[in-house]
């Protein structure tokens, strides 16, 4: 900070102190903030920085990043708005919240897109520079109308800040172009919010240092803008009030903040570490799964091999090659990539080798909505291959759950010699939450057994001779005496030789199916997440609807309704007691972010007249929507 400015600020603070204008601090139970701006405004970074800072305070939190598919959609337009919603609380939270308390609007388009989700009486922090004639026109406001000036926002608390001007001012003696200076605007806003919520900025200062430490001008401009934003709040006393949220009453333990794709990558690393199976990731970049590749490629010290293949098919087939060689082969993708990998999944089913296929689902079909969330690949995962081609399907329900979920997917793949599909989605992948991370010694042990030689009395290696789980041996190249050939043509039972025999084909189809169904004997029974064992309504969910179902059902239970919630990790095979649970309820509701997929499988399997609640808008289901549906069913 230049010496003169520093003196000025110090004087202002002294002045404030002497005339006793100290800011008052209010304690809130929870806050929902939405950071919204142009996709070039750095709102995702601002949001994640504020999230990390919040996590360190011990609040429970949930986030919802929502951004356009274009890297830089036309500036200032409605489709170009990028948002990051954060809910933090001294209670447990399970969703990022239906409505927000605070809306940061960097431009007119951001306000227009997000105003409907702001609570009445909520705060709008508006960057006035983003409301000039051009921005207003791009946001489709009628000529001469500026919502910041016409009183139309009187139902809200409007805080107008000329972020651009003040950022430029704070950076005036740094030698860099105005365009570059303006990139630090988001740091000014972040600093202002840090002031507003009584935060210590060390976490972000450390982040800026790590990220830009080698570029002195950029480092300096970000730090100064951050401090200027903080000092602005401190000095100007716009609101006179700052806020804090007390630590959440979470389970005792040590926590960190984690995002879904990050947790997924860590789960894979942890499994590799515990099982001592080398991890090989064969993949092709695709939104929203690419971060798993980025993350894994950083951890070479764990012996992980990441292979950015030439296409989706090479992604999975290279992983099959690695699994054949005795690694844990993994491939990561999203819907369109799943479609391309289908034939290779069938090969893995025939080869009966371990493989984990991660599908971070997004809106479809075709390119669909690449950056929006959806649960619409379930039937593709369940059925989407040629021939009778059963594969286990496992789903994650929250960002941190990706860790345990994918660990379990790997366990099943290896212990049952089968490809496994692991489903996440865009909402889980990019969302963050506190995570009481495990100690490596507490992670479940994994049994990997390679066949190393011919057993007693075994004359010739029989690659398709099965154990009690119907699992065939894993014999890898380099093992003397076990040379064998496998392939995609139908196998003769036991020998694995090519066979076109009709009876053998029927037998093998049945064996492959039974092998997958048998996994139900080696997974936990389904439990109710909450609610009575018998009652009026059972809400069955899977994947990212976990938080919204949990909080909605909790509210109805508090009102005395007999509503229970079961959330499925295992979709194929289902836990062996799921049918019994279902039969204990008068009605079954299955909310999904798709046009009704799990419901088809549940109806088929249990002949139950389940009802669906289906939202196909690329965004999560809200609590108020679900509450309405359930209340109607209860009426």
């Amino acid at each position: 900070m230049p010496a003169k400015a520093f003196v000025n600020l110090t004087l202002q603070r002294l002045f404030k102190y002497f005339i006793n204008m100290a800011t008052t601090t209010e304690v809130l139970q929870e806050v929902v903030i939405k950071f919204a701006g142009d996709s070039g405004d750095g709102m995702q970074l601002t949001g994640s920085q504020f999230t990390n800072n919040t996590a360190l305070l011990g609040n429970d939190l949930a986030t919802f990043p929502d951004f356009p598919a274009e890297i830089r959609a036309p500036q200032g337009t409605l489709p170009g708005v990028s948002g990051f919603q954060l809910r933090f609380s001294s209670d447990m939270v399970y969703t990022p919240g239906d409505e927000c308390d605070v809306l940061v609007a960097m431009n007119a388009a951001a306000l227009k897109v997000n105003l409907k989700s702001l609570k009445k009486g909520g705060k709008i922090i508006a960057n006035t520079d983003g409301f000039d004639a051009k921005n207003l026109r791009l946001a489709n406001y009628p000529d001469g109308i500026n919502p910041l000036e016409d009183g139309s926002l009187s139902a809200y608390e409007l805080i107008k800040v000329d972020v651009t001007k003040m950022t430029r001012e704070a950076l005036k003696d740094i030698t860099m172009g105005t365009k570059e200076k303006d990139r630090a605007k988001n740091m000014f806003v972040l600093g202002f919010l840090y002031w507003m919520y009584n935060r210590n900025m060390d976490s972000s200062i450390a982040f800026i240092k790590e990220k830009f430490g080698k570029k002195p001008e950029i480092y300096e401009s970000n730090i100064r803008a951050l401090q200027a934003g903080y000092n602005f709040g401190d000095t100007i006393e716009i609101t006179g009030v700052t806020y804090t949220v007390a630590k959440a009453r979470m389970q005792p333990g040590t926590y960190r903040s984690i995002m879904g794709n990050q947790a997924l990558a860590y789960g894979l690393i942890a499994f590799s570490d515990k099982s001592e199976l080398p991890l090989f990731l064969g993949t092709y970049p695709i939104t929203p799964a690419s971060d798993i590749l980025h993350e894994l490629s950083r951890y070479k010290a764990f012996g992980i091999r990441t292979f950015q293949a030439e296409d989706e098919i090479a992604g999975i087939t290279s992983a099959i090659g690695a699994s054949y060689g005795g690694s844990l082969g993994v491939t990561t993708t999203s819907g369109p990539g799943m479609a391309l990998k289908g034939e290779a999944m069938g090969l893995a089913v025939m080869l009966e080798i371990p493989l984990v296929i991660v599908d971070v689902q997004r809106g479809g079909p075709s390119t669909g909505l690449p950056t929006k969330t959806e649960q619409s690949d379930l039937l593709q995962a369940y059925y989407g291959r040629n021939g009778e081609c059963p594969m286990p399907v496992i789903a994650a329900s929250t960002p941190s759950d990706c860790f345990d979920g994918v660990y379990e997917a790997c366990r099943i793949a290896v212990e049952h010699m089968t490809p496994v599909i692991f489903l996440s989605d865009g909402y889980i992948a990019n969302g963050a939450e506190p995570w009481r991370f495990p100690k490596s010694e507490d992670l479940p042990a994994v049994k990997v057994s390679f066949k190393t030689d011919l057993g007693h009395g075994e004359e010739k290696f029989q690659p398709y001779l099965r154990d009690e789980k119907l699992v065939r041996p894993w014999a890898v190249p380099g093992t003397p005496g076990l040379e064998h050939r496998i392939g995609g043509i139908e196998k003769q039972n036991i020998t694995g030789n090519v066979s076109y025999d009709p009876e053998n084909h029927q037998l093998m189809v049945k064996i492959r199916e039974e092998k997958v169904e048998k996994i139900a004997e080696y997974i936990p029974e389904q439990h109710l997440d909450s609610g009575p064992e018998k009652g009026k309504i059972l809400v069955i969910g899977w994947g990212s609807t976990y938080g919204v179902i949990k909080s909605t059902v909790a509210e109805l239970q508090a009102q005395g309704h007999e509503v229970s919630h079961a959330h499925l990790r295992y979709i194929r095979p289902f836990p062996r007691n799921l049918g019994d649970i279902i039969r204990n309820f008068d009605q079954v509701l299955i909310p999904e972010i798709n046009n009704g997929q799990l419901i088809k499988i549940i109806r088929d399997k249990y002949l139950v007249d389940a009802k669906g609640y289906n939202k196909i808008m690329g965004i999560p289901i809200t609590k108020s929507e679900l509450l309405e549906v359930l209340k109607k069913m209860l009426a």
């Binding site: 959440a248 942890a270 012996g303 290279s318 069938g346 190249p477």
Partner: protein, 345 residues
């Protein structure tokens, strides 16, 4: 996964590489000869049998792994190269061989082929080129000549064929060779060279499909025409061909021309083959004339090009070793904990 130390092996023979599976190619198929040459060559390479993996895709030739008593995978159409990439990347010590037909390697799997070559995995790719789709009963392939009449091109194919070696050259293959099913000795020699090359070896093998495309290469393989039409490359030797060894290739600028050795041109004027010459190799792979047209060039056989280039799997391993050297072996608890934690009591 490390291969256990191998005790001294009894000397293997070609028979040790045969399996108990009945070979099911059509009688007279060129694949029989290729299989026989591979089985003959293998014992001499000194690789423990269990360290050899043969990976194929789909097509007649892709049945190959079933007939080799090594590890093997008969995979799916076009993907042998990608499967081999993952295997070699994760198990660099294995000797990985790829068997692919022209449809498999250049049509449905064309993408993986070029990427395998540019990445330079140390694998041996054998392209069984018969210029036809055999297993689907006779459609034109990406190497079939223009105007070829097949089941799917009754008025003649309008596809322009690939020149496989030029394609490999374009993909920066580090070893490029051509041989034929009907010349066992030459094929064995080339297979040994392909194995000895450290890097992706691309060997095109002219293979006769006697059912759907009989005689496609007979002008190069039959005694009567072979000497005039096939030019066998030898390192450091002039490009000479002809029954009387009286013809040679001379470079006229960048253009190869046929000359009679005698008064007008001496052996010293001829093109001396140098496998290491990147620029001349580009010209050599383009000697791909229609042998039934007048004034065509003979078709070269042998090793066209060989260069040393880092192999993908080695650099991958090196990066891992460097990361461990710098940061120490990965510590799972440290990873899970991250940099910023807080405690709730």
């Amino acid at each position: 996964m490390n291969t256990t130390a191998i005790p001294a092996q009894p000397t293997l023979t070609a028979k040790d590489f045969a399996t108990d599976q009945e070979v099911r190619w059509c009688p007279g198929c060129g694949d029989y000869s290729i299989l026989a040459q591979v089985q003959k060559v293998m014992p001499g390479l000194g690789i423990p049998k269990e360290n050899i993996v043969i990976i194929s895709g789909i097509g007649c030739s892709s049945r190959f792994p079933y007939y080799m008593n090594t590890y093997g995978m008969h995979s799916i159409h076009g993907r042998a190269t990608a499967i081999a990439s993952g295997l070699k990347a994760s198990r660099p010590e294995l000797s990985v061989w790829i068997v692919a037909g022209d449809g498999d390697a250049l049509s449905i799997g064309g993408n993986h082929t070029i990427h395998l070559l540019r990445r330079n995995f140390d694998v041996n790719m054998m392209l069984f080129n018969n210029q036809i789709y055999g297993l689907t009963k006779g459609q034109y392939s990406p190497t079939s000549e223009e105007k070829k009449v097949t089941k799917s091109s009754p008025l003649g194919s309008i596809d322009h064929p690939f020149n496989p070696l030029a394609l490999a050259m374009g993909a920066d293959a580090s070893f490029i060779a051509r041989s034929m099913d009907r010349d066992p000795k030459h094929l064995q020699e080339i297979l040994i060279r392909s194995y000895k090359h450290k890097g992706a070896s691309f060997t095109e093998i002219y293979q006769n499909c006697n059912i759907f495309n009989d005689g496609a290469f007979e002008i190069f393989t039959e005694k009567s025409s072979k000497p005039e039409q096939a030019l066998f490359l030898e390192q450091g030797k002039p490009l000479i061909f002809g029954a009387a060894k009286n013809k040679g290739i001379k470079l006229d600028g960048l253009k190869p021309v046929v000359v009679e050795i005698g008064d007008s041109a001496g052996v010293d004027d001829l093109w001396i083959h140098d496998e290491k010459d990147f620029y001349k190799a580009q010209v050599l792979v383009r000697m791909f004339d229609d042998p039934y047209k007048d004034e065509h060039l003979p078709r070269p056989f042998g090793v066209f090009y060989e260069t040393d280039r880092a192999c993908y799997e080695d650099v991958m391993t090196m990066q891992i070793e460097e990361a461990i050297a710098v940061k120490g072996k990965g510590d799972l608890d440290k990873l899970l904990r991250g940099n910023e934690v807080w405690t709730i009591n």
